[in-house]
């Protein structure tokens, strides 16, 4: 996965995941001393994020999207694999480099403000990362807070309020302002608009696009909604049960999906017009548990195209057309 699509900016890789894994132990007994199994939340995931571009990560609930994000944010330690930032392995580098990495990669979650101190004023909440990480005087910090609030469409008046005095959409603007505080190079967006109304959603998506154009920041966008992904992303990776099953430039993925799971996701997506013709491909059964993934291709119990070998042989990534990667025995 080394070449770039036409849509790319300068195509330089800024962040790279190589065969990342996160296995959570399932414990039992007194003091949880006995490990009875492993949840393979993320099981060998590789991708690249490029400067000024957006990589979308889609897939069903529990497939490991947020766990992947948490590893990139160093909130979870990978069980295996590596994260490269500007070509350097973040777990093997110096303490100072790791600090720099942490401030270069920021995050916006579905409702990050629910976890922040409700008694702090907005200006202090936005200033906090700068106060901790930068040696900057109070005046400079406050000036930057105003600039950031303006960037996200809020103003000075808002800086004196408390988080609960904001609507959901405004809180998401604040979260974006806070994430931008340290001039990050990458922002991980974990379902940033899922909890918002359609109209507010459009405002936030447009804002994110504008900020990307202005600051050339890269995004890793986690989303359920495929239309959101189509609107926002340069590349899309489709995850199923801890693995990436397909990865392609956004247009290619939507116009020529290859993996049966991607096809099922697309046909299950809601239409944008009552006359939209959809080829119904309704999957039966539930997403299997990552505690006990099926043998062979993880998708075979639900796959309408499954062949004999699918329940036996594991799949590996192929590149049937340039820049379009898929893990499926059909290709």
């Amino acid at each position: 996965m080394t070449t770039t699509p036409e849509t790319s900016g300068n195509g330089q890789i800024i962040l790279e995941a190589r065969d990342l894994k996160k296995h959570f132990p399932v414990t039992k007994g007194l003091l949880f001393s006995k490990i009875t199994g492993w949840i393979k939340a993320v099981d060998g995931v590789s991708f690249e994020v490029r400067v000024g571009e957006t990589l979308g990560l889609v897939g069903e609930s529990g497939c490991g999207k947020s766990t992947t994000a948490k590893m990139l944010l160093m909130l979870e330690e990978p069980t295996d694999g590596s994260i490269l930032f500007e070509g350097e392995d973040v777990h093997l580098t110096t303490q100072a480099k790791r600090r720099e990495y942490r401030s270069s990669v920021q995050a916006v979650f579905q409702d990050p403000w629910s976890s922040l101190n409700p008694r702090m004023r907005v200006r202090d909440l936005i200033a906090e990362p700068m106060v901790i990480n930068w040696d900057m005087d109070r005046g400079g910090v406050m000036e930057r807070v105003q600039k950031l609030l303006n960037d996200v469409g809020l103003n000075e008046y808002h800086s004196n309020l408390f988080p609960h005095e904001f609507s959901g959409g405004q809180r998401q603007r604040l979260a974006i302002a806070r994430a931008l505080a340290l001039n990050p190079k990458v922002i991980v967006l974990d379902e940033p608009v899922s909890a918002l109304d359609v109209s507010i959603r459009a405002q936030i998506m447009n804002l994110l696009k504008d900020l990307q154009n202005e600051y050339n920041v890269s995004y890793l966008l986690i989303a359920h909604d495929l239309a959101t992904v189509r609107y926002m992303c340069t590349w899309v990776a489709v995850m199923y049960l801890g693995q990436i099953v397909e990865l392609a430039p956004v247009k290619e993925l939507f116009e020529n999906p290859l993996h049966p799971y991607t096809k099922a996701l697309m046909s299950a997506a809601l239409p944008s017009h009552p006359d939209t013709v959809q080829d119904e491909m309704i999957l039966m059964g539930e997403v299997p548990s990552p505690l006990n993934p099926p043998p062979g291709c993880y998708f075979h119990p639900r796959c309408p195209f499954a062949m004999d070998r699918c329940s036996v042989d594991v799949t590996e990534a192929k590149e049937p057309s340039p820049q379009h990667w898929v893990s499926c025995h059909l290709y």
Binding site: F254, P274, V287
Partner: protein, 328 residues
């Protein structure tokens, strides 16, 4: 759109419904003069931004509005020839579930964590049918099978926390349909579901509808659900219906600026969109509505008149109307 059941006579008629709440900020006019009807086998979608009064409209129809602070100030809700607002609490209890049922927003809170799901479905059936225990259990099993709970005989004994979100949602659906109501209201029934599980669930509701000529009301933020499921659509803004029409009227000829704006702000999966339209500002707070058209502060077509007088309802066709001065 999924093929619909045959649409028959009117089963439900809501007329000038007003439901207010008394709060410390003043009176919240959550529902302020809502009228619509529903036919047998028909699916009506109700869309609108958060807080516009969708859930309160439905709670009013179920007579489940908390009183106080709430109060149904006026209106009629005629179901199968009977005005629900005139019934005693006891009479209403009999109607709830048997003639009109509600699937509420969050499946976890509508299931009781300490009872098995089988017993909860059975309880719903018992409430409305005077039948022996044995056949209640059989019926509960049948309903669970109907909503595609795999291995229903064994899963019946499970507690809610032992099931996935998708399965819980189906159990709530099972309770909703267990008494074969005439009208089933689904309030954001699929927001917590995965895309593929959501598709299964929506298909299931359509199948049940076809089989039993059920009338459905879908409350949602999501125009995708409307496009897939609904025959007609009501667009709500600030406690009122501002536009109503067939699903094609709404998608092909939206007439109210709010409807237009909502549709334009939804990204599309099938095509590249350079930039989404976005409505500036936010919906008004319902205890402090502006004079005139409540959309005026955000409306790109606002005129002087809009700020002083509420716009009249203007027919666009036999099936389609909108309340906006631009159409007058």
């Amino acid at each position: 759109m999924v093929e619909s059941a045959t649409i028959g006579e009117i089963v439900l008629e809501v007329e000038d419904l007003r439901t207010y709440f008394r709060t410390r900020f003043g009176t919240v006019k959550a529902v302020d003069g809502v009228s619509f009807n529903l036919r047998k086998g028909e699916t009506l979608g109700i869309v609108g931004e958060s807080g516009c009064g969708k859930s309160v409209t439905m709670l009013s129809m179920m007579r489940l509005v908390p009183i106080p602070p709430g109060r149904i100030v006026s209106g009629k809700i005629v179901l199968d020839g009977e005005d629900l607002l005139q019934l005693s609490e006891g009479e209403m209890t009999n109607i709830r579930g048997s003639k009109i049922a509600l699937i509420i927003q969050d499946p976890m809170t509508s299931l009781n964590p300490v009872f098995s799901i089988g017993s909860q479905v059975a309880e719903a059936i018992k409430l409305h049918h005077d039948i022996p225990h044995r056949s209640v259990v059989d019926q509960a099993l049948e309903v669970l099978r109907k909503v595609n709970i795999p291995a229903a005989e064994t899963r019946m004994r499970d507690y809610p926390h032992q099931m996935s979100g998708g399965m819980r949602q189906r159990v709530v659906g099972a309770i909703g349909i267990s008494c074969e109501p005439m009208v089933l209201i689904a309030d954001e029934p699929t927001t917590s579901l995965d895309v593929t599980i959501q598709a299964q669930y929506l298909k299931l509701l359509k199948d049940i509808q076809k089989e039993s000529d059920l009338s459905l009301i879908f409350i949602t933020h999501d125009f995708g659900i409307v496009a897939k499921m609904c025959d007609r659509v009501a667009v709500m803004y600030a406690g009122r219906i501002v536009e109503m029409g067939s699903v094609r009227d709404i998608f092909n000829h939206p007439s109210h600026p709010y409807t237009e704006a909502l549709l334009a702000s939804v990204p599309k999966m099938e095509q590249d969109v350079e930039r989404l339209y976005s409505i500036e500002g936010q919906p008004p707070t319902l205890h402090d509505l502006p004079e005139g058209c409540p959309f005026a502060p955000r409306c790109p077509h606002v005129m002087d008149r809009c700020r002083t007088e509420y716009p009249p309802q203007i027919d666009q066709s036999e099936t389609h109307y909108a309340s906006c001065w631009r159409l007058a």
